[in-house]
C-alpha cells in the first residue's frame, strides 16, 4: 500500500506532461472495438489459463476469510469449513469483545486530522513549487522523493525519545495523546500529497491565478479561491492517500497510543495477540473484524482505480 502511494508520488511532476489540461488523469482511451491480432501478447489459451490461476490464487484466501468471518470461533479453531455452521453472530459480538468502535473513532480522528493538515500544507507548498523559479527548487522536489524511502523505524525511535523527553522535562503529557501520532503521520502525508498536488497543479493554467491576482487577490487568496476549487479532485485523492497512511499503520500507533487513543489497527492487533494468549481463540470474530477493517479501503481503491493506474503510468514515463 505504502508502495503504491510512493510510486504514485513518484509520478510527480511528470504526470501532467501528456495529460490534457482539465482532465487529470485522462480517461482510458477507447480503442477500436476489435483488437488487432498484433496487440495480443499471449496466445489466447495461455492468457485464459493465467486469468483462471490468478483468480483462484486471489479469491480462495479471500473466500476463506469471508467464510471464516461467518463461522463460530470454535469451528474456525477446529478447522470446520461448512456452510451449515454459518452465522452472522461474529459481526455482532466482535464490537463488545474488542474496542473496535472506539478504535474506529480514533482512527477517523487521527487519520482524518493528519490527512487534512498534510493536504493543506502540501497545497501551500505546491503553489510556489509549480509557479516560481527559485534556487533549490529541484533539490526540494528530490528531497520529497528521498524522504519517502526513509524506513519507519528510523523515525520511530527518535520521535519516541523526543516526545518522552518533552513529557518529562516540561511535564506536558504527550505519549498516548493524539498529538504525536498525528504529527508522525504527517511525516508520510506531507511529501506524498505534495508530489500529487505538484503534478496536478502543473496542469492548472496559469492564466487562472494571474487573473485572480489582477483582480486584486493576494497569492494566498488566489490559491484558496481560484486554484483550490479547480484542484478539488486531486485534493480529494491526496487526502485519501494521506488518510490511508493512518488507517494502515501499526508501527507508530503501537507506541504512541494508549488504551484510550488506540487506532483500529492496534485494537485488532491487540485483540489477536490477546486471543492467542489464553482461553478459546476468537478467530471467527478476528476474521469478521478484519473484513470490516479492510472493506472501506478496498472500496476506496476500487473507486479510485483509475487514479492509481494513471499515477503509476505517469511514473513509468520517467523510467
Amino acid at each position: 500500500m505504502a508502495q503504491a502511494s510512493a510510486a504514485l508520488g513518484a509520478a510527480g511532476p511528470e504526470a501532467a506532461r501528456g495529460a490534457g489540461r482539465r482532465s487529470w488523469p485522462p480517461r482510458p482511451r477507447k480503442g477500436s472495438a476489435v483488437q488487432s491480432e498484433a496487440e495480443l501478447l499471449l496466445p489466447v489459451w495461455l492468457s485464459r489459463l493465467v486469468v483462471v490461476l490468478v483468480l483462484i490464487a486471489v479469491l480462495v484466501p479471500l473466500g476463506y476469510m469471508l467464510l471464516m468471518s461467518f463461522t463460530p470461533n470454535y469451528d474456525v479453531a477446529a478447522g470446520v469449513v461448512s456452510f451449515a455452521v454459518l452465522t452472522a453472530q461474529n459481526y455482532v459480538s466482535m464490537w463488545s469483545t474488542a474496542p473496535l468502535a472506539q478504535g474506529l473513532v480514533n482512527t477517523l480522528i487521527i487519520a482524518g486530522t493528519s490527512a487534512a493538515l498534510s493536504v493543506a500544507v502540501a497545497l501551500m507548498a505546491a503553489y510556489p513549487l509549480t509557479r516560481f523559479a527559485f534556487r533549490g527548487r529541484h533539490g526540494y522536489l528530490y528531497t520529497l522523493i528521498g524522504v519517502q524511502t526513509i524506513p519507519g523505524t528510523t523515525l520511530l525511535l527518535p520521535l519516541f525519545a523526543v516526545f518522552s523527553w518533552i513529557q518529562t522535562t516540561i511535564s506536558v503529557h504527550m505519549i498516548g495523546t493524539y498529538f504525536p501520532i498525528i504529527l508522525t503521520y504527517m511525516t508520510f502525508g506531507v511529501p506524498l500529497s505534495t508530489w500529487l498536488l505538484v503534478a496536478y497543479m502543473r496542469t492548472v493554467p496559469r492564466d487562472l491565478d494571474e487573473a485572480a491576482l489582477v483582480d486584486g487577490c493576494s497569492q494566498l487568496g488566489a490559491l484558496a479561491r481560484v486554484i483550490f476549487p479547480v484542484m478539488l479532485p486531486a485534493v480529494v485523492v491526496a487526502f485519501l492517500f494521506a488518510f490511508l497512511v493512518g488507517w494502515n499503520d501499526v508501527l507508530f500507533a503501537s507506541v504512541f497510543t494508549n488504551q484510550n487513543t488506540q487506532t483500529l489497527a492496534i485494537a485488532l492487533e491487540r485483540f489477536s495477540a490477546n486471543s492467542q494468549a489464553g482461553g478459546l481463540p476468537v478467530y471467527g470474530q478476528l476474521m469478521s473484524s478484519a473484513v470490516v477493517s479492510a472493506a472501506p479501503v478496498v472500496i476506496i481503491y476500487l473507486i479510485f482505480q483509475r487514479y492509481l493506474v494513471h499515477g503509476l503510468a505517469a511514473g513509468s514515463v520517467t523510467g
Partner: protein, 352 residues
C-alpha cells in the same frame, strides 16, 4: 520569520530569470499605481529594504513553503539525525529519560548488535540476512507473476474490468488485515494451507507454519500474495505507454508472439520494470507490520527482519542504543537503492 524573509530575498537575488516568471503584471485601473510603484525597474530598487522585502513577499510567496519545510525538518530530518546520534550513545532503560546526557559509547552499539545475540536470540547479521532474503526473493518472484497477469488482461474480453478489479484487491487490503488473515490461513492443522497440503498428502497436515523454521516461508508466501499486483500495475501502466505501431510493425516483420515479447515488449518495459523492482525491494525491506501482526510476540527468528529487531530492542528491552544502531544500518543499506531511485526520477525541467 525575519530570517526566512531574508532567505526569500536571497533566493530571488540568485535567480535572474525569476522576475520573468513572476506572475504579476501591472494591472490596469486604480490598483496600477501602487503596483508599479513597487515593481522592479520602476522605482522598486530604490525603495526601502522593507518595501522591497514586502514586494518580494507578495509577488513570490516562497513563504508558502514554510509549513512543508518545517514539517520535513522537524519530523524527518531532525529525527534521522537524532537516530544517528542515539546509535552512538549508551541509552538503555536506566538512561532513557536522560538520553541527552547518556554516556558516549562510540561504535560499541554496532559492535554489540553484530556480535551479541539479542534477547530474541538473533544477531544483527542474521536480521540483515533475513531482510535481504525477504525483499529480494519477494521481488524476484512477484515480477514474473505481475508481468504475466498484466499480459493476460491486455487482451480485451468480456468481464475484463471485473478481473482487473479483483487482481487489485490483495494489494489494497491493509497489511495488518492480510497478516491477521494469514494467521488463520496458516493455523497449524486446522488452517486452510495445512488442510490442503494434508488433504493432498503432501505433508502430514501439521506444518506449524507460525512457529519454528517454517515461519519465514509463511511470511514470504503471504507477502507474495499481497504485493504482486504492484508489479502488475506498473507493467500495465508501461504497456499502455507503448505505441500501437510498435506491435503492428513487429507483426508485419513476421515476429512470433514469443519473439515480440522478448524483442519488443520487454525492452519497452525495461524502464518501468526496473523502477518497479527497485521500489518493491525498498519497501519489502522495511516491512514491519506483516511480521509484527502475523506471529505471536516476539516473532520467531525466521521472521526477525530488521525493523522487528529494532522495534523489540527498543520497546521490549529498552536498548535504545542498539535499536538506533540497527535503524542506522537499515538506513545505510537502503541509501543505495534510494539514491538510484531518486536519480531515475527525472524531474520535469520547466515551470508551468
Amino acid at each position: 520569520m525575519v530570517s526566512t524573509r531574508r532567505h526569500v530575498e536571497t533566493a530571488a537575488w540568485h535567480s535572474p530569470g525569476a522576475e520573468v516568471t513572476a506572475p504579476v503584471k501591472a494591472p490596469p485601473g486604480p490598483l496600477a499605481k501602487s503596483y508599479t510603484a513597487t515593481h522592479p525597474g520602476e522605482g522598486g530598487a530604490s525603495g526601502s529594504l522593507w518595501s522591497r522585502a514586502s514586494r518580494k513577499w507578495r509577488d513570490r510567496p516562497l513563504w508558502m513553503l514554510i509549513p512543508a519545510t518545517a514539517a520535513l525538518v522537524i519530523i524527518v530530518l531532525v529525527p534521522t539525525a537524532i537516530t544517528v546520534w542515539l546509535s552512538l550513545l549508551n541509552v538503555n532503560v536506566h538512561t532513557l529519560h536522560e538520553w541527552l546526557g547518556a554516556p558516549f559509547y562510540g561504535l560499541q552499539n554496532f559492535i554489540d548488535a553484530f556480535t551479541q545475540p539479542s534477547t530474541l536470540g538473533v544477531t544483527l547479521g542474521w536480521s540483515i540476512f533475513v531482510s535481504f532474503a525477504f525483499s529480494l526473493l519477494t521481488t524476484v518472484i512477484i515480477t514474473p507473476i505481475g508481468m504475466l497477469a498484466a499480459f493476460s488482461v491486455h487482451r480485451r474480453f468480456r468481464g475484463r474490468g471485473i478481473v482487473r478489479a479483483i487482481y487489485l484487491i490483495p494489494y489494497t487490503i491493509p497489511t495488518f488485515v492480510t497478516a491477521l488473515t494469514a494467521r488463520v490461513v496458516f493455523l497449524n492443522g486446522s488452517g486452510l494451507v495445512d488442510k490442503i497440503l494434508g488433504g493432498l498428502g503432501i505433508t502430514n497436515g501439521q506444518t506449524y507454519w507460525l512457529i519454528g523454521p517454517h515461519a519465514y516461508w509463511a511470511m514470504q508466501l503471504t507477502e507474495i500474495w499481497a504485493t504482486w499486483p504492484f508489479i502488475y500495475l506498473m507493467t500495465l501502466a508501461g504497456l499502455q505507454a507503448i505505441p500501437k505501431e510498435h506491435y503492428e510493425a513487429s507483426a508485419l516483420d513476421g515476429a512470433s508472439k514469443a519473439q515480440r515479447i522478448r524483442h519488443v515488449i520487454i525492452p519497452e518495459l525495461s524502464g518501468v520494470l526496473k523502477l518497479a523492482m527497485l521500489l518493491s525491494t525498498i519497501f519489502h525491506f522495511g516491512n514491519f507490520t506483516l511480521a509484527f501482526v502475523m506471529f505471536g510476540s516476539p516473532p520467531p527468528p525466521g521472521a526477525e527482519v530488521l525493523p522487528i529487531a529494532a522495534y523489540y530492542n527498543a520497546f521490549s528491552f529498552f536498548n535504545f542504543g542498539d535499536a538506533a544502531a540497527i535503524a542506522v544500518v537499515t538506513m545505510v543499506i537502503l541509501m543505495v537503492p534510494a539514491y538510484i531511485y531518486m536519480r531515475s526520477t527525472r524531474l520535469a525541467g520547466g515551470l508551468n
